[in-house]
Symmetry: C2
Subunit: 463 residues, 2 copies
């Protein structure tokens, strides 16, 4: 393909500036205080699709935040690539741990990103990676190299479980009709080690509430005689893992896909340094399920993590109180063949069953999604692999990710098409963390690589 | 003694109004945001001592909040009663559980208080009970019935462990010289069952911090492979009690005073209904150390309670994060012969020892104090007992309290005098809880009873 490198060279500063403007919008879907910003962000994305050259763009309302749709149909007889991404972002807190304002993007150099990285909430997850596609399509249209049809479906509720995406897809099968779904919402192993994500974990997210006495009590007058809901909650949560860090919820592992020794050996070949891993996190040791490596623990094995816990007096100083209630947010990462709704029910049943008589327990299912695995011998995968070969000069490594993009399984079910996950982020980008960033090099490399996927996918589709 | 009932009758509305004004000052010692209010409260207390008729009043500075001192010396050859109380209050949160503003006192009738109760933070603990003494002394002076000398020592840091009281006492032995210390900062069994507190539990309050990775992490990409500090904290806290709810800290019980079967039998005679207790707290069952009754669990046995816990995302919605840090505030109630500093060290050593390699743990000792028991055959106790007999028409029941007034042990050590705990509050007054209140009847009954203690103590001292 001609002029790709030169076009990027010529327009890269504008590409960066446009992304920075998008990152200034605090589109936090989890916190209703940002509701207007989320809507504003949808409009900004729609405009960017118009500017990129889409013939049709639309803000599609849902019971929640809208889906931004766009399309450029050049020939109905040609294949159609549907690009999915999301314009909402994770909450930015804890704010005090950010070196700069989460919604006031700045470019700073880092050890891994000597060419500079854009620091802002959403820089990588997913505004930056989503916007790579907008710019790649602009490039292909501007240089008359768009080889097939393209559609965009950019949602605003990914960080809260894509609550209304299935509602939207079920009502728009025709509009969303496609031959392959392309997503950049994952990472790659390293800048010089391109990889394609072939597996994602499922998710079940719940909130639990333990109630003891009907009011906060003086811990001296009642301490020792009344169940303290915080102590009870810690006992209940602690009991969810055994001494080998296996999850104790009955039936939890019944449907877990067991990988063959061959598959595990292949995984073990991916470059990984446990020393660097520990150094990067400043931990003396890793911790997890007995019998599995670190890379297995965070990809092919299910987990149960407390994402938040609170109860009692958490202000300055001391308060000698026994709280009436204690709470926790708990999420389970699931692997292929575990059904998230079934797991949620198993958890709920078990958690309620282990509560002592002295307290009342509520389990509130929050959201979830299924795990996903894609075969590496498919035509879609081959097109992606070739694209990386052209821009990185090497064949990408297939990689299972520990993250979840629940809607991938949904797409396959509803739209009968495969999803390709071309991620250009790095583990060190600190997504979901303070100081999230996205390397300028990665951003531009993504814009460069995407058109080659379109090219090879179109060619392979013809043959 | 003459005119006591009539004087109270005549002035009761003013007594109530003055207390309400004092309760409007949010003197929360645990939260530095209220620092100025704590100082203002000290000045209000000083003025009330002047108005009551003290010859000398003083705001005595300390490294922390000041001690308000006052005295009325009528004859150095007569005995001196030192009244201790505190003008600081517990934090009011959780604010949303208050029916009315914590610092905007209102009088409402309740089932137990048909004559009305004053609802406000500090109404009972301890402004209301402290102010009973101010009004009782006013009464005795105004009616020329003060039989001995009286001193006041009202501090502003009781709710944060009386951090600087020992500093103050060590420097003021002469000023504080007395023959008995009188405190109203405890409760009685019921309005028709007067009781005198003969035992208090000690306290050790600590804050713990568990650190995992050096930043918040994406729970998908790292979940299962890295120690989650919240999960670890729950495991560590859960392990502090065994299956019989015995505390597992090595050496914790070594010095615990074991009561004789006779003493436990005597305790069991105090009127108590487990059904009413459970009903009042809306719990299906009590919970505590195996082998002990509810009244024993909250008075003669040591405890370990989490007073607060926090970590990770506790906002609205969901955040799939592994927190970098998790925290808890933990307090242990101690019984006679347990030394709070030794217990604090045992806890710290044990808690650090059970932390897995994968996390770092910090234990920050907060404050504490020794337990206390007073004999019921002493002259001081007999004087108090006779006072109740005059105003309640029945002999008070000696009672061990689960609460802690750490400075009582300090007084005995530093000032070589016994402390008498004449409490007029009720368990249902919700001290340290939302909707704290103090019965108007209890308030006035306290003002009526205190002068009789002065009378009998002076007479018994002479004989």
């Amino acid at each position: 393909m001609e002029h790709i490198a030169s076009y990027i060279q010529e327009h890269q500063q504008r590409f960066i500036n446009e992304l920075i403007e998008l990152l200034k919008i605090p589109s936090v879907s989890a916190d209703s205080a940002y509701s207007q910003d989320v809507w504003n962000c949808a409009e900004a994305v729609q405009k960017s699709l118009q500017d990129a050259g889409c013939d049709v763009t639309e803000i599609c309302e849902t019971p929640g935040y809208p889906v931004v749709y766009g399309e450029k149909i050049i020939d109905v007889s040609l294949p159609t690539v549907l690009i999915y991404g999301h314009y909402d972002v994770q909450p930015a807190d804890p704010l005090n741990l950010w070196d700069t304002e989460p919604f006031d993007p700045v470019i700073r150099n880092t050890e891994i990103h000597p060419e500079g990285a854009i620091f802002a909430r959403g820089a990588c997850d997913d505004k930056g990676q989503m916007y790579m596609h907008v710019k790649a399509v602009e490039l292909m249209i501007a240089t008359n190299q768009l080889p097939c049809n393209v559609k965009f479906m950019i949602e605003g509720e990914e960080e809260v479980g894509s609550a209304n995406l299935s509602w939207f897809i079920e009502r728009n099968h025709d509009k969303l009709k496609n031959d392959v779904i392309l997503i950049s919402d994952t990472g790659m192993i390293a800048k010089d080690v391109p990889s394609i994500t072939t597996g994602l974990r499922g998710l079940s997210y719940v909130e639990v509430e333990v109630t003891g006495p009907n009011r906060d009590l003086h811990s001296g007058l009642y301490g020792g005689a009344v169940a303290n809901p915080i102590n009870i909650l810690t006992k209940m949560i602690a009991s969810l893992h055994d001494e080998n860090n296996h999850i104790t919820v009955p039936g939890f592992y019944d449907k877990v896909e067991e990988l063959s020794a061959k598959e595990r050996a292949a995984m073990a070949e991916a470059p990984f340094s446990l020393e660097n891993y520990k150094k990067a996190l400043d931990i003396n040791d890793v911790y997890g399920e007995k019998g599995y490596s670190t890379n297995e623990r965070n990809s092919i094995r299910p987990t149960l993590d407390v994402n938040g816990i609170w109860g009692g007096y958490i202000g300055e100083g001391a308060k000698t109180v026994i709280a009436s209630k204690a709470y926790a947010k708990i999420s389970m990462r699931l692997v292929p063949d575990q059904d998230w709704k079934e797991i949620t029910e198993l958890f709920q049943k078990h958690f309620e069953s282990i509560a002592p008589e002295a307290v009342k327990v509520k389990v509130k299912p929050h959201h979830g999604g299924q795990a996903y695995v894609t075969p590496i011998d498919s035509m879609e995968y081959q097109a992606a692999s070739k694209a990386y070969e052209e821009t990185f000069g090497k064949t990408p490594i297939p990689q299972r990710s520990g993250g979840s993009i629940p809607i991938v399984a949904l797409f396959e079910k509803e739209l009968q098409s495969k999803t390709i996950l071309m991620g250009f982020g790095l583990d060190s980008d600190a997504i979901h963390s303070p100081n999230e960033h996205f390397g300028v090099w990665n951003y531009l490399k993504g814009i460069e690589t995407i058109p080659y996927f379109f090219k090879h996918f179109t060619e392979l589709s013809k043959s």
